[in-house]
């Protein structure tokens, strides 16, 4: 589904991602972990085309996406959420989701009909799925942080992606919100048969849903294994888990 080959990226001499390679099969749930500054978000930005890669290649569903702009990568079936919540704050919750549905269904250039009439049911269905059905008319910028994260997930789902990239989906959430969000993500991934790649700081979350874990440290991939093996890995314990405890 996704193949990352020897990808490298540096900023003004600082090497953020240093020759990372891995691949993900359809239907897998993978996590990338690593301490702050390990290059997780940079790696995401490289995969989704938000940053140009210096070296290496990226393949999505067998297609070379190395130099594709984000909007085309998105249309190929990749969805993503951002670490800093990324919604359309002055639009209502309904309008946020509807915008993504409009693009996905190829109606973004229609300029004749009132936008309200488009895809009401489809949008409602997504609102229901991410638990925001009662908040459709709320201005999204006024939602609580946890709800905004849920909305962002909804926006990503509205494009009906095959591969979903979530960057710290529970960052800044309370324990209860974290629990709910993880349950939600797990359920949706199963229902839709999605392939999921996420980064996360909360180890409990990672070990509870990931099938495979990749450990990033100073821009390099130092381990890639099942949760049990990663837990046992002495190098990982030393440089990463050790720091956390």
């Amino acid at each position: 589904m996704l193949a990352v080959e020897k990808v490298k990226k540096s900023f003004d001499g600082f090497v953020a991602v240093n020759g990372v390679s891995f691949s993900i099969k359809r239907g897998e749930i993978c996590a990338i972990i690593g301490p702050n500054g390990a290059g997780k978000t940079t790696l995401f930005n490289l995969i989704t085309g938000h940053l140009p890669v210096d070296e290496g290649k990226l393949f999505f569903k067998g297609m070379d996406i190395t130099h594709m702009p984000p909007h085309r990568i998105c249309r190929l079936g990749m969805g993503r959420s951002f670490q800093r919540t990324n919604i359309f704050p002055r639009l209502t919750v309904f309008q946020n989701i509807q915008a993504a549905v409009l693009v996905h269904r190829g109606k973004s250039l229609n300029f004749l009909k009132p936008v309200e009439s488009f895809f009401r049911e489809e949008t409602q269905a997504i609102l229901k799925r991410v638990g925001l059905k009662d908040y459709g008319e709320t201005v999204s910028g006024s939602l609580s942080y946890g709800f905004q994260k849920q909305l962002e997930l909804g926006i990503a789902l509205a494009s009906e992606p095959e591969l979903l990239l979530l960057d710290e989906p529970t960052a800044g959430m309370s324990a209860q919100e974290t629990h709910q969000t993880i349950e939600l993500i797990g359920r949706i991934t199963k229902e839709k048969g999605l392939t999921l790649l996420f980064t996360e700081h909360d180890m409990e979350v990672v070990f509870s849903i990931a099938e495979r874990i990749m450990v990033l440290h100073q821009g390099r991939l130092i381990a890639e294994d099942t949760p049990e093996e990663v837990r046992k890995n002495s190098e990982v314990q030393k440089i990463y888990l050790g720091e956390g405890r």
Binding site: T48, H71, R75, I87, L91, S108, L112, V115, S159
Partner: protein, 308 residues
């Protein structure tokens, strides 16, 4: 929504009855407001809806004015064709200039639109043989059947209402919604699958098209045009009207144009310190009514409703 539409019908009817006053003063003022109002609404497609601060919109207004006037005066082209050509030229110029401008963002975008508009101004200013340069273009013929202020007023009203109807349809359509999402968050919009630059360019072109229309009207209305129309201060003026009226309401810029033009008429008959008064209004506005006149009225209305 229907209530808003009824309200609009009443306003259009009032405007249609304005010539009954038989006051040349009000007919001239009305024409001026309609023309500048449409210009401000066109600018607001970029400013309020797409989140692009164009500081060189006078270029397209001026291109519209010169295209229509030159075609009629120098090539004796019939008015309807010259008028349509003006709008098309405005859109084409916006396409070419916008192609470069959208490559930059924020303040750099604004500066580049300003730079291009000054280039267009310089060309018009220096190309004496075609545009008359500093002396302007005088004696633009009145089109047939539009040779009285009242008739021209009705023609302007018709063109402006039609243009606003189309623009309003556009901003309430899916395309308009995409422009709003770009304003709100271009990064996110890119990753719901939208080519943000392409949509910005489309908005730039449409805005150029609808900025050229009031330009063409303005030239005919005044019988003459000068390079001043393209100077940056004219871009600033329409920007002020838009912000004063309220850039987050569709009709805000229209209200802003009406208020500024009426006040200027009023103030300049008493004192020559209009810029001072304008500066004061602008300062008060930015501090106390950041949403503009319509934004302020709307928030008062919701406040009243809630406390009823």
């Amino acid at each position: 929504m229907p209530r808003e539409n009824w309200f609009l019908v009443i306003i259009i009817l009032c405007l249609a009855l304005l010539p009954m006053s038989e006051s040349r003063f009000y007919i001239f003022l009305g024409t001026d407001i309609l023309i500048m109002g449409l210009f401000a609404v066109s600018l607001n497609l970029l400013l309020g809806y797409t989140g692009l601060v164009s500081f060189g919109q006078a270029a397209y207004f001026g291109i519209g004015a010169y295209t229509c006037a030159l075609l009629m005066k120098k090539a004796s082209v019939a008015f309807p064709i010259a008028f349509a050509a003006a709008a098309v030229f405005g859109a084409v110029a916006a396409l070419i200039i916008g192609f470069f401008c959208i490559r930059l963002t924020k303040i750099y975008f604004a500066m580049l639109t300003l730079a291009f508009s000054q280039i267009v101004w310089a060309i018009v200013f220096k190309w004496n043989s075609l545009t008359g340069g500093d002396n302007g273009l005088i004696g633009i013929p009145f089109p047939q059947h539009l040779d009285s202020p009242t008739r021209f007023y009705y023609f302007t009203l018709f063109v402006v209402v039609l243009s606003l109807f189309l623009l309003r349809k556009l901003v309430n359509s899916p395309l308009g919604r995409m422009l709003t999402t770009i304003r709100e968050n271009p990064e996110r919009t890119e990753f719901i699958g939208i080519n943000v630059k392409k949509f910005q360019l489309i908005a730039f072109m449409i805005s150029g098209f609808f900025s050229a229309i009031p330009g063409a009207l303005f030239g005919i209305f005044n019988h003459s045009i000068f390079p001043d129309l393209l100077f940056w201060s004219h871009s600033a003026e329409v920007l002020i009207m838009t912000i004063l009226g309220g850039m987050y309401s569709f009709f805000g810029p229209m209200v802003g144009a009406a208020v500024i033009l009426y006040l200027r008429m009023l103030v300049t008959s008493y004192t020559q310190y209009w810029p001072l008064i304008m500066g004061t209004i602008l300062t008060l506005l930015l501090f106390f009514f950041p949403g503009g006149i319509l934004g302020f009225l709307r928030s008062q209305l919701t406040f009243l409703k809630r406390n009823r």
